[in-house]
């Protein structure tokens, strides 16, 4: 999961970004002003935007309005030092999904970020299930038929992303965009290596779900590899 953090107070941004990276292992990009934030958001590679209100160049509310005007449906969590009801109501009516007033609790930021991402993907429960595969986003644990599977952080994040979108094709590019922030060099073979490791670890069980490799199109998490194969697609 990748998050865009738009906050002009650098120390605060550093802390929030660090917490999001350390905790749920999100990729975090940081923009110091509204304009930069808005142009970064154009990439549409974010699962959540955390937006401060008092921003130089372009204030948070304008950023939010422009985002929604151009049809960007990314979940937005507002950070505000204002706690007046009217401003909160206005923000939510402008298209914000949630808000937190400063000084906030980092744990709460993480929890809300997770909840917003979950909701954005159409999931309600923090535990994702597919066949006998179980993924708990709370403690980042993965079980296959009741047996715990140990995954590296990046493997876990790829699996979590795929679990959010079962049975649909996720391109390598999309995975790259959502797994890494701008500070990382994008090497597609990194993803391939992680996928193959992940497939191996998941394959330790008896049955699918497993990850299909659709050449030139991406990856797909399928429940039964034999039944749900798309016509024209090649097996991995």
């Amino acid at each position: 999961m990748r998050i865009l953090l738009v906050e002009d107070e650098i120390r605060l941004a550093e802390n929030v970004a660090q917490a999001l990276r350390d905790g749920p292992g999100f990729a975090v990009d940081h923009a110091e002003d509204g304009q930069t934030g808005l142009s970064l958001a154009e990439n549409l590679c974010y699962d959540l935007i955390i937006l401060d209100l008092m921003l130089p160049k372009l204030d948070g509310q304008t950023v939010l309005r422009r985002l929604r005007e151009r049809g960007d449906g990314t979940a937005v969590l507002i950070l505000t030092a204002r706690s007046e009801r009217s401003s909160i109501i206005q923000l939510l009516n402008c298209g914000a999904d949630d808000y937190l007033s400063k000084p906030f609790d980092l744990g709460e930021v993480i929890a809300r970020a997770k909840a917003l991402i979950r909701r954005g993907k159409g999931m309600a429960s923090p535990a994702l299930r597919l066949g006998d595969l179980e993924l708990h986003t709370g403690d980042q644990s993965v079980f296959r038929a009741g047996n715990s599977i140990v995954l590296s952080p990046m493997e876990y994040r790829i699996l979590e992303y795929l679990m959010h979108r079962p049975r649909s094709i996720v391109s390598k590019r999309e995975l790259l965009e959502h797994m890494y922030d701008f500070n990382w060099a994008h090497h597609s073979n990194v993803i391939e290596a992680h996928i193959s490791n992940l497939r191996r670890k998941l394959g330790e069980g008896t049955n699918p779900p497993t990850i299909e490799n659709l050449r030139n199109r991406g990856y797909r998490l399928v429940l039964e590899s034999t039944n749900s194969r798309e016509p024209g697609s090649e097996p991995a």
Binding site: D8, I10, R11, N15, D33, M54, P56, L106, G107
Partner: protein, 487 residues
């Protein structure tokens, strides 16, 4: 002071004036009444005396004496009279036993006031002529008689008194009616005032207007009051809005600062870390809380500068050049670190009267700003010039300058020309606001001149002190120990 009612005062004043005129009127009327009644009495007396003269009859006695008879019913019982002929014989009298003495007196005025037997009379003295036997060949005998006729004055006074009583009563009645009518009229007339008071009572933080339909606006006497109230309200509203803005900004800054410290601490406790990580984290928290401390200190400084009255007891005559040199000394290290040359030209001896600590703060704020906005291997120049009875402090840098649309706002509290940049340099956005507050306190002026791309000059003018008598060295231990808050 005791409270009093305008209405009551006005009514009392009007009634007093009315009472005075009433008294004057009664006085004049009484005099007139008295005079006219006594005139009437005199006429009556004359008439009575004439009738009496008419009753003096020719007599049939040998000496052709005049006689008086047939006077029954002629003179009222209470009147007195005495009639004497020219031979000194009293021919008739009524109720006047010792009237002869009066007749004999040399007083020959027609009317006199006499007191007879304790009763006051008005007396007419009437000489009369009676021709006895006018049909005679000799043409009759002329007989002179003198009549003294008196009438009691008591009834006249009684009538005058009655008239006065009548006037007084009707006057008092009039006064009472006037009072009531006035009260009513004043109450109605003062209605706009009551309305204004009611509307003024409705003013609160949430509604800063008098009602738009204020009747008082159309009253010429109240109009200045209404406009005074309205302009005062406008000023209050503005300064209230400013305060509100300040509080809101301050709250935002403080909350952000607290959020930084809190999140730094929480980040540390999110998972177990090595001792080195904790140490580094705590160091960061320390820096964060120092920034918060600085912010609070500056906000307090600004609040003290803007709200507190003048404290002349802390004022000293200070040599501006010395203070500037001192402050520049402090900043040499920082300037050196940023590879900026700090040039100070403070040769001119200029004395200013002020709190030395505040002057230091001003100088250090300006120099700190200049250094922060300068690129490496450029110059920051601070110089003092004297112009007339003013001293000018100029701090110039060769930095990136300030664009024109930002320049008017640089003295606003919490304003940051380029917010993200000044945040990175740790600015609070209060330095220039504090500088301005200091300069204004000493009746000086401060302005920024900037050429984008070429640099900025901060120009401070302060009133100059000519005398050197009260001069004190500023570089006391107290001052040099004081921590200088800078922007």
């Amino acid at each position: 002071m005791k409270t009093y009612s305008l209405t009551r005062r006005l009514i009392i004043a009007v009634l007093l004036v009315e009472l005075c005129s009433l008294l004057a009127l009664i006085g004049i009327a009484s005099v007139y009444e008295g005079i006219s009644h006594f005139r009437a009495l005199d006429v009556t007396l004359r008439g009575r005396a004439d009738s009496l003269l008419g009753a003096v009859q020719d007599s049939e006695d040998p000496e052709d004496n005049v006689m008086l008879y047939g006077v029954e019913g002629l003179a009222p019982r209470r009147d007195i009279y005495i009639v004497r002929d020219d031979r000194g014989r009293v021919i008739g009298s009524q109720g006047w036993p010792d009237g002869e003495q009066e007749l004999a007196s040399s007083d020959t005025r027609e009317f006199r006031n006499l007191t007879i037997g304790g009763i006051r009379y008005r007396v007419i003295r009437k000489p009369g002529l009676r021709i006895v036997d006018p049909g005679d060949a000799k043409g009759g005998v002329a007989r002179h008689v003198t009549i003294l006729y008196g009438s009691r004055t008591h009834p006249v006074w009684e009538r005058v008194r009655n008239a006065i009583a009548f006037y007084t009563l009707s006057g008092l009645l009039l006064l009472a009616v006037t009072g009531v009518v006035l009260l009513h009229l004043l109450r109605r007339g003062l209605q706009p005032l009551y309305e204004l008071a009611e509307q003024a009572g409705g003013i609160s933080v949430n509604s800063w207007n008098l009602g738009p339909s204020s009747q008082a606006r159309y009253v010429r006497e109240l109009e200045p009051l209404v406009s005074a109230i309205e302009s005062a309200l406008l000023r209050l509203e503005q300064s209230f809005a400013q305060q509100k803005q300040f509080v809101s900004d301050a709250a935002h800054e403080l909350k952000t600062s607290v959020a930084v410290v809190k999140s730094s601490l929480q980040l540390l406790t999110m998972r177990t870390r090595s001792a080195k990580e904790y140490e580094e984290g705590l160091e960061r928290v320390k820096v964060d809380s120092e920034r918060m401390e600085e912010l609070v200190a500056k906000m307090l400084t600004l609040a003290r500068l803007e709200d507190g009255g003048e404290q002349p007891e802390s004022y000293r005559t200070v040599k501006l050049g010395d203070v500037l040199n001192d402050v520049a000394e402090h900043f040499q290290t920082m300037a050196h670190f940023h590879r900026i040359k700090l040039v100070v030209n403070s040769d001119i001896s200029a004395l200013v009267l002020c709190d030395p600590d505040q002057l230091r703060l001003l100088c250090s704020n300006l120099i700190h700003n200049a250094i922060q906005h300068s690129k490496a291997s450029t110059e920051v120049r601070a110089m003092i010039t004297v112009q007339g009875d003013e001293v000018q402090l100029r701090v110039e840098d060769d930095g990136e300058g300030i664009s024109e649309d930002i320049l008017p706002h640089v003295f606003d509290r919490f304003y940051r020309g380029d917010p993200s940049r000044s945040r990175r340099t740790g600015g609070t956005g209060l330095g220039l606001a504090i500088s301005k507050a200091i300069v204004l306190r000493y009746h000086g002026a401060i302005r920024l001149e900037s050429q984008p791309g070429h640099g900025t000059s901060a120009i401070v003018t302060l009133p100059l002190v000519r005398s050197t008598t009260k001069r004190l060295e500023h570089g006391s231990a107290r001052n040099s120990q004081k921590k200088i808050a800078t922007s």
